[in-house]
């Protein structure tokens, strides 16, 4: 039978390599896989491209990666309030691709859903047009937005079963659900592993087909 449970965060990040693209779930602290973030640090990988809504704000989040200088580029909607990132941004040692939040999450969805892109009304007539193809449909201009995919997606769930079915806690669902569809390896840090069959089939948010690894986080 399928069993995607791994022992800990170290096993969850196995195979991560220099230069990989990594999605990290969370909006603020909700949905942020803190154990996984630390484990990535321990691997010694470098030159990561990170896709995440934020760029860290305290001492147990993505700030750790910027402090360790393992990020080459971040694709992000709101890197403000990210002090360590800001220092490196000012120094010109990290690249930023600023993407409006709804476009960011829809690009990730498109990546996971096998689309070649989508036409968005968001950003037309603004600096967010730059470098994008404009397509007119029915007399209205849209920007062609391209899908985002990653080598790894790291997100935080509430419960998982051994198959890899996952639920989330309240607003911690945020970007986690789509990120968990758009990476070659999806590893989910959860509060609790439950028996297969224990999750309500109507209420599973991430069906196991999207999930490669789950592990129970340590006490925070």
């Amino acid at each position: 039978m399928r069993n995607v449970v791994v022992k800990d965060a170290r096993e969850a990040v196995a195979g991560l390599k220099d230069g990989h693209t990594v999605m990290v779930g969370g909006f603020g602290g909700a949905g942020l896989p803190r154990d996984t973030i630390k484990a990535v640090l321990d691997t010694g990988v470098r030159e990561l491209t990170v896709i995440s809504n934020n760029a860290g704000s305290d001492e147990s989040d993505l700030s750790l990666w910027f402090a360790a200088r393992i990020v080459r580029k971040i694709v992000c909607s709101y890197p403000r309030a990210a002090q360590v990132f800001a220092e490196q941004y000012r120094a010109g040692t990290v690249e930023l691709e600023l993407v409006p939040q709804g476009t960011l999450v829809e690009r990730i969805r498109a990546g996971g859903a096998g689309l070649g892109g989508f036409l968005s009304p968001v950003g037309v007539g603004t600096v967010f047009e730059h470098g994008k193809q404009k397509i007119n449909v029915g007399g209205r201009d849209f920007l062609l937005e391209l899908p985002l995919k990653a080598d790894f997606a790291f997100v935080k769930g509430k419960c998982a079963d051994a198959f890899g079915n996952v639920t989330y806690n309240m607003t911690a669902r945020n970007h986690c659900q789509v990120m968990a569809t758009a990476a070659s390896t999806v590893a989910i840090e959860v509060d609790r592993i439950v028996e297969v069959g224990e999750l309500d089939p109507e209420s599973i948010v991430t069906p196991c087909i999207f999930v490669d690894r789950v592990f129970e986080r340590g006490l925070q």
Binding site: G102, G125, M170, N174
Partner: protein
């Protein structure tokens, strides 16, 4: 110069909301509008991080950091609320399902162009846009809540925005600490002014031409206004 206090401005906007509808309160000042909604309001608040029917902040000590709003502050969920992922949340916005989004602004133009995500002058700090651009495009009506002028005394209502745009031609109504102004096809029309203020006085503080009916409504200093 006498201006509405921030809380009274929030109250004024709250008093202009319909009795029912789906509303997103932008991060920062607009969030305060929630404090002035009646207890039995039919207004259902949306927050773009994936929640409908946002309730007041929880009592101190009962915060749950998995239950936060778009400003990343702890909130509660009211009865009949729901959680969903961010792609669904932004689909609600982009798809025109929200009735009103009430946003802060640096500048609004006479044509309803909005600049509220960047002053363009970052002195090297990283820019951040969040959901500002998405909200401004999607909601059925975009209301602005802001001070009428900058701290330096410059108008925020202008002929043409000089700051980077958030969206083009989207603003329908502007609530400031001096006036309520409708953005119409024919230009900016003053709906109401703070008591004691004259149209000429308001025009002096505004960077685009204002029109007004013979007798605009009067805003009292507590945020209430005449019919």
């Amino acid at each position: 110069m006498k201006v509405l206090a921030r809380a009274d401005l929030a109250k004024m906007v709250a008093l202009h909301l319909p009795t029912e509808g789906f509303v997103n309160l932008g991060i920062g000042a607009p969030t305060q509008i929630a404090d002035f909604l009646p207890a039995d309001t039919g207004v259902i608040l949306h927050s773009e991080n994936g929640i409908l029917n946002v309730g007041p902040k929880p009592p101190s000590g009962e915060e749950d950091w998995d239950l936060i709003n778009a400003g990343k502050m702890p909130i509660t969920l009211r009865e009949g609320g729901s959680y969903f992922d961010s792609s669904t949340s932004f689909a609600m916005m982009r798809g025109g399902h929200l009735d009103i989004a009430i946003l802060g602004a640096f500048q609004v133009s006479a044509k309803g162009d909005l600049a509220n995500w960047s002053t363009g002058d970052s002195d090297g700090a990283p820019p951040g846009v969040g959901g500002a651009v998405d909200l401004a495009v999607g909601a059925k009506a975009i209301w602005i809540m802001m001070d009428h002028i900058t701290r330096e005394g410059k108008p925020r209502i202008v002929k043409k925005c000089t700051f980077p745009l958030t969206a083009v031609g989207v603003v329908s109504r502007i609530f400031t600490n001096l006036a309520i102004i409708d953005v119409t096809a024919g230009g900016l029309v003053v709906d109401a002014m703070l008591e004691g203020l004259t149209l000429a006085g308001l025009q002096d503080l505004t960077g685009a031409e204002l029109q007004a009916p013979a007798k605009p409504r009067v805003i009292r200093t507590d945020g209430t206004s005449s019919l």
